[in-house]
């Protein structure tokens, strides 16, 4: 798809490391994502994908390395710091309230009020509808349905829409298509593409290389806590990526991979 237009990565990690006790979860990893691009993050179980996004989201802190946002060094000490920068994470287990409707979920924790401190339902309902429409989420017939009535794909759409509603710059999606059927996976991948088209920097974590190749512009491969390389989707093949995931050699410290630092 379109090559990244922006010279400065929106979010850039330089040489970050993270250890849990004696387990080295991340070692000297470089990572970047730019406005308007979908960056996939792939790797086998235990490659360090979750640690990486949790650290970006402020749940863990990196031990070493630099985090740059729009080229400026930043320090992320907690989820609130990440949110302030405009980094939103859509976790696998969605975190929606089944008993509340779409509007109520979209605004949960950030409700709009009128002058009398009452919930401003008309404003919330209108903006929810606008947001869903701007993302071409057309399968939700009424924004006043409870989330319990929605399908897996629709729920994922609501969770994603919620993450982009708050002036976010970077949206990180953790396994957004896991447990979805074919048609619903299609919906969600289209949605991911549209986020990038709207100029957001999108990071998608997936085990499904088919999905990754469908939606990503570039692919970062992690193996055993190190980055094995960044591949442009247009210039690579699934075979090459699989090879990198299972037997890739770290770009920076050649020859080290698989020498006994297996993480769990």
């Amino acid at each position: 798809m379109t090559a990244p237009v922006n010279d400065v990565p929106t979010l850039e990690l330089r040489g970050v490391s993270k250890a849990f006790g004696s387990v080295q979860a991340l070692k000297d990893v470089d990572f970047e994502v730019r406005d308007g691009e979908v960056m996939a993050l792939v790797g086998d179980n235990g490659a360090g994908k979750s640690t990486l996004i949790k650290s970006i989201a402020g749940i863990h802190a990196f031990d070493e390395g630099e985090v740059l946002f729009d080229g400026e060094p930043v320090h992320i000490h907690g989820p609130k710091d990440a949110a302030r920068l405009g980094i939103e994470v859509v976790y696998q287990d969605l975190a929606l309230c089944d008993n509340l409707d779409v509007v109520q979920n979209m605004y949960l924790g950030r409700e709009a009020h009128d002058a009398l401190q009452r919930l401003n339902e008309p404003t919330m309902e209108r903006r929810t509808a606008e947001t869903l429409k701007s993302l071409s989420v057309t399968t939700i017939s009424s924004v006043r349905q409870t989330v319990a009535t929605l399908s897996g794909g629709q729920r994922q759409s609501v969770a994603v829409a919620r993450s982009v509603m708050w002036n976010s710059r970077v949206v990180i999606l953790d396994e957004p298509t896991a447990a979805l059927g074919v048609a619903q996976t299609r919906q969600v991948l289209d949605l991911v593409r549209r986020l990038a088209e709207q100029g957001l920097a999108v990071v998608i974590i997936s085990h499904n290389l088919h999905d990754v190749f469908e939606v990503a512009d570039r692919i970062t491969v992690l193996r055993l806590g190190r980055d094995v390389g960044v591949y442009e989707r247009a210039k690579t093949t699934q075979q090459e990526i699989v090879g990198a995931i299972t037997a890739g050699v770290p770009t920076k410290v050649a020859g080290i991979a698989g020498t006994g630092e297996e993480d769990v």
Binding site: N99, L100, Q104, E111, R118, L132, Q198
Partner: protein, 410 residues
């Protein structure tokens, strides 16, 4: 997301206008297992018809007045229960706390005991005592994580002990203060009754019209206009009907106004404020609420404070009705009546689903049965068995409806 899209995106969702469309949508909801308040209305109608046929006294204005006062205390307590159930928690201490409320108001209103604070002050202090008790119990639940079942079971025992200690050897405190006694024994002059009915009807019309214009101005789907009109008219007719019946007897009881006022107030809190929204969220998915930045512990503690305060106020109504408080305060069926009322009214025991009005509807069901069986000269065992059966039926209905809701993905 920055595009100023016109908001008629959901136009496709409008199920059509008119009452027929509304009825169709309602039956769809029923089939999916969302029964709402329907079973309560059916039960109330059946109970009314049954007792009217059996007893000549049941369907009279005097008895209607009595019934309103009889159910007031239970209904007030059940409001607190609704909030606790919305969280998916339980409060077993409300019986004892209502006893504490009665004892506190009786103690504070006593003349010549050093504290001369009058009836109003005594009522406020008693309610505050209930709220403090709720705050303490809620803190154990929310901050330490002790199951609410155990915390409030301990509270049930402990506060019963406190009542025993306070009432001491005499075992009873009389209430002479008129302000306190009027809570359950004052009947409004008939003109006032009509005035209030008119005010309620006006408020109904204004609220409905206000909602209509706000949504219209915002360019949102309006909903089913005939249905809205029908609802306003029905509520207004019920209001005038109740006042008319009461005015054939002693007039509208203050206790009835208190209950309706509290239901309206707490409905507003539950549906129109951020706090209420967060109560539903915590009840639905505490983890999602926490990730959305909601202070879950604060919500839990506040809800237990509401429960304690409403229990104490219910206890005040009971004490005022008897103009005294004795060792039986808050014991017997007081606790189970209040919890049953909330559940029978349609509040789910599983958290996150229910409305404040369930407290009033459920209390009406329980107390109507009790009242009717009393009139038929039935003994306590019949009343207990009947209430038990109805409670089981209500919980079974809730469970089945929850299963159907899940099956139909609602």
């Amino acid at each position: 997301m920055s595009t100023a899209a016109p908001p008629e995106v959901q136009a496709a969702a409008v199920p059509g206008d008119g009452l027929a469309a509304a009825a169709r949508a309602y039956f769809d909801k029923l089939r999916a297992g969302d029964v709402g308040s329907l079973p309560v209305f059916v039960a109330l109608a059946a109970i009314t018809i049954f007792f009217s046929a059996k007893s000549g006294v049941f369907f009279t204005a005097v008895n209607f007045d009595n019934l309103m006062v009889q159910m007031a205390g239970t209904a007030v307590m059940a409001i607190g229960v609704v909030f606790v159930l919305l969280l998916g928690e339980i409060d077993l201490s409300i019986g004892s706390v209502s006893g504490i409320g009665g004892v506190a108001v009786a103690t504070f209103q006593q003349v010549g005991t050093g504290h001369n604070i009058g009836g109003g002050g005594a009522i406020v202090l008693a309610i505050a005592a209930g709220a403090v008790i709720g705050a303490i119990q809620g803190s154990f639940v929310a901050l330490i994580g002790v199951p609410s079942f155990v915390v409030t079971l301990a509270g049930l025992l402990a506060f019963e002990g406190v009542i025993l200690q306070r009432l001491g050897s005499e075992g009873v405190i009389g209430i002479q203060n008129n302000t306190v006694n009027n809570v359950a024994n004052y009947f409004l002059p008939k003109n006032w009754g009509w005035g209030i009915a008119a005010a309620v009807a006006l408020a109904l019309v204004l609220t409905a019209a206000g909602g209509y214009w706000t949504r219209r101005r915002a360019g949102l789907v309006i909903g089913n206009v005939p249905l809205i009109v029908l609802r306003v008219v029905a509520l207004a007719v019920i209001t005038f009907g109740v006042v008319m019946i009461c005015n054939h007897s002693r007039g509208v009881p203050f206790a009835g106004i208190l209950v309706v006022g509290l239901v309206v107030f707490w409905t507003y809190v539950a549906r129109r404020t951020t706090f209420g929204r967060h109560v539903y969220a915590v009840g639905g998915n505490p983890e999602a609420a926490r990730r959305a930045g909601i202070n879950v512990a604060r919500i839990r503690i506040l809800v237990f404070m509401i429960s304690g305060a409403m229990a104490a106020l219910g206890g005040i109504v009971f004490a005022a009705r008897l103009s005294s408080v004795d060792l039986s305060a808050g014991s017997g069926t007081v606790l189970l009546d209040a919890i049953s009322a909330a559940v029978i009214g349609g509040t789910s025991l599983f958290g996150g689903r229910g409305y404040v009005r369930a407290a009033l509807l459920g209390a009406l069901v329980i107390k109507t049965i009790e009242n009717g069986l009393d009139l038929l000269g039935q003994t306590d065992w019949v009343k207990d068995v009947t209430t038990g059966v109805i409670l089981l039926a209500a919980v079974t209905l809730d469970t089945v409806s929850r299963r159907r809701l899940q099956a139909s993905g609602r």
